[in-house]
């Protein structure tokens, strides 16, 4: 399997990562180099093998459903590049 320029533009869009037009072709080559290298995985017999879902076998822990932190909008917005009155500021989303 390999990618072409349209695929690179599409996945960049999915990843919300702007890519300059002159970077598309080099990225096609870089990704194809990686995909050619990982293609060796196709030779492994994986019939009847379960995919790993937990690296160390353990039961998912549950906790009581109650609020344990939060309620501090000032701390939450303190690192925002743009904030007003404890709200995040974004470009207009709805016309």
């Amino acid at each position: 399997m390999s990618v072409d320029k349209d695929t690179v533009r599409r996945i960049a869009r999915l990843a919300r990562l702007a890519i300059e037009e002159e970077r598309v072709e080099p990225m096609v080559n870089e990704l194809n180099q990686m995909l050619a290298w990982v293609a060796q995985l196709e030779e492994v017999d994986i019939a009847g093998v379960e995919p790993m879902t937990s690296v160390i076998a353990q039961k998912l822990k549950l906790r009581e459903d109650k609020v344990t932190a939060g309620g501090d909008a000032r701390a939450v917005t303190a690192n925002a590049p743009q904030a007003e009155d404890n709200f995040f500021v974004v470009p207009k989303v709805v016309e």
Binding site: L17, M27, L31, V49, V55, V76, A80
Partner: protein
């Protein structure tokens, strides 16, 4: 106890005992390291230095010591990889996108260290989001290794991604440091800088407050000058944590007590698949020497097989980017981090902020990860890689039926010159060929300095253990350390 004349040369154990015995104050010790960090700025090991905070913490420790209230790491100055969130102290993950981020909370691992009395010297440089094996992908420029080849002035890499931590330990700019290891990022830099690096079992240390790269692989661990120091630091870093549901509720043993129990009667496996073509002959020679050292101390050497070893690295380069593409979706230019100027709408805000904020290696991995998770390719890549991961883990389980721990080389070669491998990503990835299997299987592994190349550059050996058996890993690591008697230090060419 005979102490080195210079406090910066103390081991963590030396310093702990000297501070507790009031032979040196924490302020005095901290001052020596603050000076060493200033003198070592040309190595670029630190992204942020925190001398004022360090002295305040040292004074608080000295006050406790005066009262006889001494905690396990009381007054001991440490360097912290800039991937651990530190409350009120900038935490960048080596990235432009987080270059102004000041966490309003503390990571569990670092909180554990402060609760044990440790002192923060500063935050160490690293590959951006821990993606790299040479510390060359940092937004804050590469770290320079204190080691140079004999008769050469060329700058070498300190390995990565915990390159700043490895350098600060090797160049005596801290007593010890924290690192994180997703595919080898503690053990590989430790090996090429002549230091000790331990990646614990997945779940041993809480991941809460550590900037996420690949959540099923990431694990924090100690980087130190001796195996005993690694035992001391791990004991304090490890904990079960309500804030990380994958942290495991198992007792944390007294590792320091286990370190010197020797290897008599242990069975040490030699996995034949770790002999790779094209590796320099000194790697194989050192590996054989390591086996002889352990045998001479009473261990039994057995050959074992890990048949899926060659598939570990390609499987990793599907799983890790897939998880990274998901984890790094949070950087949106809205809630924290870099934000692009002059955009028309919110989509362009995301796309431009991320393109400007992430470096080339991170962008490449996000795109690979997005591709292997995208509709129509998920099973062919991601599910297949996770099945191969099951096989790799099974290989280890079968090998451990015949032995207690494994001995392998830590890296396929010594450190290389800065810029030597940046053109070919796959060649760079091969640095992790001996370490990455351990992350895929969630196991503990330690890199211990074991020898020098003919050029005078450090090489390490790796011990891999069963899940949650860090004690045996440390015991065998100590046996290697003792036999190797690695006393070489980099010649001090910086800061003069």
């Amino acid at each position: 106890m005979s102490l080195p004349a210079t406090p910066t040369e103390f081991t963590l154990a030396d310093a702990r005992d000297a501070v507790a015995a009031k032979k040196i104050s924490s302020r005095e010790l901290t001052g020596a390291f603050v000076k060493a960090i200033e003198a070592g700025r040309s190595l670029n090991a630190f992204v942020t230095e925190t001398p004022e905070k360090a002295f305040a913490m040292a004074d608080a420790s000295d006050a406790r010591i005066a009262k006889g209230d001494v905690r396990p790491l009381e007054g001991l100055p440490l360097a912290i990889k800039d991937l651990f969130c530190t409350k009120g102290v900038r935490t960048t993950a080596g990235s432009h996108i987080l270059s102004n981020f000041i966490p309003p909370y503390e990571s569990t691992v670092t909180q554990n260290l402060w609760d044990a009395g440790a002192v923060l010297l500063g935050k160490t440089n690293m590959d951006e989001f821990a993606m790299g094996s040479s510390n060359e992908t940092s937004w804050f420029k590469p770290v320079i290794s204190p080691w140079r080849a004999k008769g050469s002035n060329e700058h070498f890499v300190p390995g990565g991604s915990s390159g700043g931590s490895a350098t600060s330990v090797a160049a005596n700019m801290c007593l010890a440091a924290t690192g994180t290891d997703t595919g080898g990022s503690i053990r590989q830099p430790a090996a090429v800088t002549g230091t000790v690096g331990l990646k614990p079992t997945y779940g041993r240390c809480s991941r809460w407050g550590i900037v996420a790269f690949a959540s099923s692989l990431d694990q924090a661990g100690p980087m130190t000058r001796t195996v005993r120091d690694a035992a001391i630091l791990l004991k304090q870093m490890a904990s079960v944590d309500a804030l990380d549901s994958t942290s495991v509720d198992v007792p944390v043993p007294d590792y320091e007590a286990a370190v010197n129990s020797g290897v008599k009667g242990l069975r040490i496996g030699i996995p034949k698949e770790y002999r790779v073509d094209g590796a320099p002959p000194e790697i194989d020679a050192l590996w054989q020497k390591g086996a002889e050292w352990l045998k001479a101390q009473g261990a039994e050497i057995v050959e074992v097989s890990l048949p899926h070893t060659k598939y570990a690295l390609p499987a990793y380069y599907i799983v890790a980017p897939a998880e990274a593409s998901s984890n790094l979706a949070r950087y949106d230019g809205v809630r924290y981090g870099h934000r692009a100027e002059g955009v028309r709408d919110v989509i362009e805000l995301y796309e431009k902020s991320r393109a400007e904020g992430f470096g080339a290696e991170v962008r490449r991995r996000i795109l690979i990860g997005t591709y292997v998770l995208s509709a129509g390719y998920y099973d062919a890549y991601y599910t297949r890689a996770q099945k191969i991961r099951t096989l790799i883990k099974r290989d280890f389980e079968q090998a451990f039926e015949r032995c207690d721990a494994l001995l392998t080389p830590a890296t396929p070669g010594p450190a290389f010159a800065i810029g030597a491998k940046t053109a070919d990503p796959v060649a760079m990835y091969l640095n992790d060929v001996f370490t990455v299997t351990v992350n895929l299987a969630g196991l503990p592994g330690i890199a211990v300095p074991a020898g020098l190349t003919p050029d005078g550059l450090p090489l390490g050996l790796q011990i891999i253990g069963k899940a949650f058996d860090e004690a045996t890993v440390l015991r065998a690591g100590r046996a290697i350390e003792q036999a190797a008697n690695f006393t070489a230090k980099p010649e001090k060419w910086w800061g003069v």
